[in-house]
């Protein structure tokens, strides 16, 4: 063995933590908005929470792009399929919102919440799997 850290014991940036906090921020915004249904909630607080979620998502994306020696094939494989699955799920939730006549700023904010949710999860799951794989772990085919 080379003595270098393997895929299972090397230090990586706190991408999981950042993405989980991003997800928690947009979910909290969603709960706040839902608590006022069927009337519209005041928007400043949920907008601020969504902004935090977006910024943390971008931070996690930047941290990802700076990774060297990472199992990118596995990340893309898991993240790609999870993204597809969550786009279907989020699409259904968006569909329910539109059917229920949600419109305007509220719909825009809820759409951003769903979008960040659908983007956070592929990063989270892709990273959680790929971090334990060897960096040279490429397409076995």
């Amino acid at each position: 063995m080379s003595g270098q850290p393997t895929g299972t014991d090397r230090q990586l940036p706190p991408i999981t933590t950042v993405v989980v906090v991003s997800m928690a921020a947009v979910i909290t915004a969603g709960i706040y908005l839902a608590a006022y249904l069927p009337t519209q909630a005041p928007l400043p607080l949920p907008t601020a929470l969504v902004a935090v979620g977006v910024v943390l998502f971008l931070v996690s994306a930047v941290m990802l792009t700076r990774l060297r020696e990472f199992a990118w094939f596995r990340f893309r494989q898991v993240g790609g399929w999870v993204l597809l699955a969550y786009l279907v799920i989020v699409g259904m939730l968006e569909f329910v919102l539109v059917i229920d006549q949600t419109r305007g700023t509220l719909l825009a904010l809820l759409t951003v919440i769903l979008l960040i949710f659908a983007l956070d999860i592929p990063i989270l799951l892709g990273f959680s799997v790929a971090r334990y794989q060897e960096a040279r772990d490429s397409d076995p085919a």
Binding site: Q77, V96, Y132, A141
Partner: protein
């Protein structure tokens, strides 16, 4: 992304871990996907048609199964799993976790989407405070469960399955991840008890 199902053997002569050939570990059971598609199609039909019986059925059946599975896994299977040897745990995980990967997200989306629509139809969404707090409490519990399940439980589940596919899986890593799976399943199980209390309160106000 083509082999995410894991049904294509990755390596020919692979050692057996816990009685399971890692090359044959399945990540997503493809044969069950039509059932998922059927459940989602039923959900869409019920939402479009504001079909109150179907929405009620999907919310009660989906929620009951979701709660039941979470409680059973968290409070019954989990502690048993925690006392099993690592080879036994890995063999169990190989067969159990791919099914959970399809069952749980389907139950969650069906329960939440039909529940929101049902609450709108029945007027429960418009109920004034202080009773409205029960709805808010249910949103908070679901939000907590989402963060725990997606942030900690599901990543551990997937990472175990991919570890099992390696020619030489790391038993210690699998044990650590399984422990995280069991703890988080226990926490969501306890949160499901809160859901039961809230939902039965809402149904009887």
């Amino acid at each position: 992304m083509a082999d995410v199902t894991g049904e294509i053997p990755l390596a020919a002569p692979a050692p057996r871990v816990g009685g399971v050939n890692p090359a044959l570990v399945t990540i997503v059971p493809l044969r069950a996907l039509p059932l998922v598609a059927a459940a989602l199609a039923f959900l869409v039909t019920a939402v479009i048609g504001n079909w109150s019986w179907a929405l009620d059925f999907l919310h009660v059946a989906g929620g009951g199964l979701w709660t039941g599975v979470d409680l059973f896994v968290g409070l019954v299977i989990g502690p048993i799993l925690g006392r099993m040897s690592i080879p036994a745990r890995t063999e169990f995980a190989t067969r159990f976790m791919p099914k959970m990967l399809l069952i749980m997200p389907t139950l969650v989306i069906v329960t939440l989407a039909s529940g929101l629509q049902l609450a709108r139809l029945t007027g429960d969404l418009a109920v004034p405070y202080p009773n409205h707090w029960w709805l808010v409490a249910s949103f908070i519990v679901v939000g907590l469960m989402a963060v725990i399940a997606i942030g900690f439980l599901e990543p551990a589940n997937l990472a175990v399955l991919f570890e099992l596919k390696k020619p030489n899986p790391n038993g210690q890593l699998i044990g650590r991840l399984m422990r995280r799976f069991v703890y988080t399943a226990g926490i969501t199980g306890v949160l499901q008890i809160a859901t039961l209390i809230i939902m039965t309160r809402i149904a009887t106000w």
